[in-house]
Amino acid sequence: MTGAANPASSAGRGARLRALNRKLLRDLSALKGQAAAIALVIASGVMTLMIAVTTLDALSLTQQRFYEDFHFADVFADLTRAPEAVSERLRGIPGVNRIETRVKAPVRLEVPGFGEPARGLLLSIPDGREALLNQLYLREGRLPDPGRADEVAVSDGFAAAHGLRAGDRITAIIRGRLTTLWISGTVLSPEHVYQAAPTDLLPDYRRYGILWMNRRALASAYGMEGAFNNVVLGLEAGASEARVIAEVDRVLGRYGGTGAYGRDDQHSHRFLHEELRQLRAQAAILPTIFMLVSAFLLNVVLGRIIRNQREQVAVLKAFGYHDRDIALHYGTMTGMIVAIGSALGIGFGLWAGSGLAGIYTEYFRFPELRFRLQGWVILLAIGVAAGAAMLGTLRSVRAAARLPPAEGMRPEPPARFHRGWLERSALRGWLDQPTRIVLRNVSRHPLKSALSVVGIAMSLGLLVMGAYQLNAVDHMIDTQYRQVMRMDLHLSFSDPTPARVQSELRHLPGVLVAETYRSVPVRLLAGHREYRTAVLGMDEQPYLRQLLDGRQRPQRLPPEGLLLTDYLAQDLGLRVGDRVRLEVQEGHRQTVTVPLVGVVDEPLGVGAYMRRAALNRLMREGPAVSGAWLMIDAGQEATLFERLWELPAIASVGMISEAEGDIREYMADTLLMFALVFVLLATSITFAVVYNNARIAFAERSRELATLQVLGYSRAEVSWILIGEILLLTLVALPVGWLIGTGFAWALNQAFSMDMFRVPLVLTPGAYGFATAVVLAASVAAAALVVRRLHRLDKLSLLKAVE
């Protein structure tokens, strides 16, 4: 037995595979079309993974640093008014580490040169010392001088939107009094990373600003001397947030506390958190899909390469190559495709990632959002790609390595043919010989044909999913702004106002329809779950703000009981008929239990709804309202604004068209951009899959086709055998692909449902049509390419050569 070590082969191991490596390179270059197609799919997966993970990492890291360095508070509470001495009792609560009492004042702002009303929030900062919590990051200028009562620092988003610099002036109406304020600097706060107004979904930097003013000055302007109406607390590590919140509520109850809450319910933090959640879903779902497709493609392509090279494998083995040498050979072939795909994907990922950074800084105001490329992200991406490749090729490579050489040397046994049902059917007379060949080719290898069908169907599914996103986002915004929010203006009053204000509003110039609503902040409790929102009290069948049922029809509000957005009801684990605990966070702060009488289907935001009369009764008040919705005559908008601006009771005026524009812009920047990239990638994948299938069909049939041509078949007849097969597989794949696409869209829909918006599962015929058109176009192009190849074929040499 030749048990002894083999000196020459082990010493020269590095060099000895040179000829084999040369074969590898030449094989790859012969396959460059197919290899490039697979590399592209891998690149897509690597890119999406890198973008999602890098963005996730950048946002999490920046958030964490900003929160830590600037001492973001853990617990927040609003109250009507409490003497400063109460802060000592709050400080004494076990688990509380730092505390900062503040004065918080909603204001109306006027910016020189900006014709529309703007809303603002004035927050106090301690005189002459740095705040202990929610410290400010100075972007420009300085903080307000402790000695000056008319200086403010403004949020950088607001400043940038209006071109405000340190030294500029704005006007604020604090408690009805017009006050001129000088800007000392622009700042950022961990409390307002996401600078949307409390009632808004998206930041509107022109119409909402946050201002910081010295405590003494603000207290005196707002009538809060020696008192506070807002407090933020920092907790010791390991302290129970729930217990601290309960204690804070107990202390502040008699001072009109509206219920303390943790970071989870803090407006800015919540949005950031949701964004991170969505990115996490993205990081998991999209790359998985791409990697599965590339695994599948590699499986098909490498499987067929190896099958075509079985004699070469047999010869190599006959001359003494080990199984592992063969495995290494084909493994390296896969590895090179993975390497090219990964390199491309990393390149694209870096480029797209830095572009994304720009978008994120628009919506999330951080001192600086730094995208860093981490080694582990690259390793992860390559690892996932390599894993997918391994999954796809393990079987073929193992089969090649284990191929018994004598078997590989024998020609493959002729395939077993039989007459299929189609040929036994009445159609038989219609089928010409080439068509019979097509049918038999497809049916003799049902598994191979099925794999091709699945490949095409998967890429079709990806296209359906991409088109779904593009269509559904539009559909979602249309639903929200054509069916749900039909008003032009949204007014909110500084305090509850008698309902008769409705007729006054109706008589303002340009007002076509006016409806009023009552809004009450509440905490909804169901089992262990809770959610802070506001109950909107409305007319029986509001015209300007509709409540849609599951079939998109407006529904009436029953005289009693609560309706919830279906997503919120589901989140709280509630069904129609269940009872909900409702803790009112205003006035008498009573807790009541009300039945859930219906759910509302709305794509943007979540809410709770009641008949206004019922809500007034619950609040033990007369017919009071908190705001109004107006439909207006656009021609008289300017006059109307002037009149509205004069009414001191109005805290804010929101233009719905602006909000819609903002939402559309946000969607275009984020979801739609992703969807567009996705559709482009899916299109390239489709071409890759279809072209690969066609090329392989061509390679397998070329001898047969050459024979037929020599026997006197025309080019067209012979081409039909190829085209027919491609066409047949594509047609079978279409319905399967529609199903897969619907499934993908459903999965995406589930993963991306959140408080802020829920893209509805609306699959339009257009989405299917688009996806189908791309697949058909790809099939036609692929067929054209292989038919051209067929015509260039050297028939005679092919007939002489032996497979």
Binding site: M1, A19, A30, V315, G320, P404, P405, A406, R410
Partner: protein, 232 residues
């Protein structure tokens, strides 16, 4: 003695048909001889060659190479046996299309213990000037000679040739046979040629006739004829 087979049988499935390729073969091959195995298609000659070359294993019976028992050798041992001792020549050359003549030889010399340079092997079969041609640029006879160069480059003890002239016209076939005889003469390599062409038997030391998976008879030639004397 180089090879010794006793009671060798082989049964395999081809498509839906069970084939009894060998039905008890007893055969000895001696060092340095040139043996021609004659038989019609389906007589089991290729199967026998594959089993002796360690490409395939027998269903029953035994096969020995010198003092090594191949009957129960592991896949790994068979690989090493092929790598160190056997050179193959196939009917359809089985060259790797993406490699040049030189590289097709190098792919074997790179894993051999004591190979001759690929250029030398190609020179021995008269292809000194075709080193960097791809298979598609060579005639059938040249391709087969590249295959012979590939088989002898490792300086094997035995050369197993499966219908080496089967795909060639007689003139080119004779050139290939001359190359094989030359190897047998010069390097004292045991050469086994299987063919269905009776004429080729005249160049052998011994002629083994196979029929229906059995040895029908062995004939020892008084005199080996030169390949160029052969006509068919």
């Amino acid at each position: 003695m180089v090879f010794e087979t006793r009671g060798l049988t082989k049964t395999y499935l081809m498509g839906e048909v069970q084939i009894h390729a060998l039905q008890g073969v007893d055969l000895d091959l001696y060092a340095g001889e040139l043996v021609v195995m004659l038989g019609a298609s389906g007589s089991g000659k290729s199967t026998l060659l594959n089993i002796m070359g360690g490409l395939d294993t027998a269903t029953s019976g035994s096969v020995r190479y010198r003092d090594q028992d191949l009957t129960h050798a592991s896949e790994r041992d068979l690989t090493l046996f092929r790598r160190d001792h056997v050179g193959f020549v196939f009917q359809f050359y089985n060259l790797i299309a993406s490699l040049t003549a030189r590289e097709n030889v190098a792919i074997v010399t790179e894993i051999s213990r004591d190979p001759m340079p690929p250029e030398e092997a190609l020179a021995r079969v008269g292809l000194k000037k075709r080193l960097d041609h791809f298979p598609a640029q060579l005639s059938g006879g040249e391709q087969q000679r590249v295959a012979i160069a590939r088989a002898i480059a490792k300086q094997p003890a035995v050369l197993l040739c499966d219908e080496p002239t089967g795909a060639l016209d007689s003139k080119t076939g004779i050139q290939v046979l001359e190359a094989l005889e030359h190897i047998n003469d010069e390097m004292r390599t045991t050469v086994a040629i299987i063919t269905h062409n009776e004429v080729i038997g005249e160049m052998a030391d011994r002629v083994v006739r196979l029929r229906d998976g059995r040895v029908e008879g062995i004939h020892v030639n008084d005199r080996r004829r030169e390949p160029r004397e052969l006509r068919w």
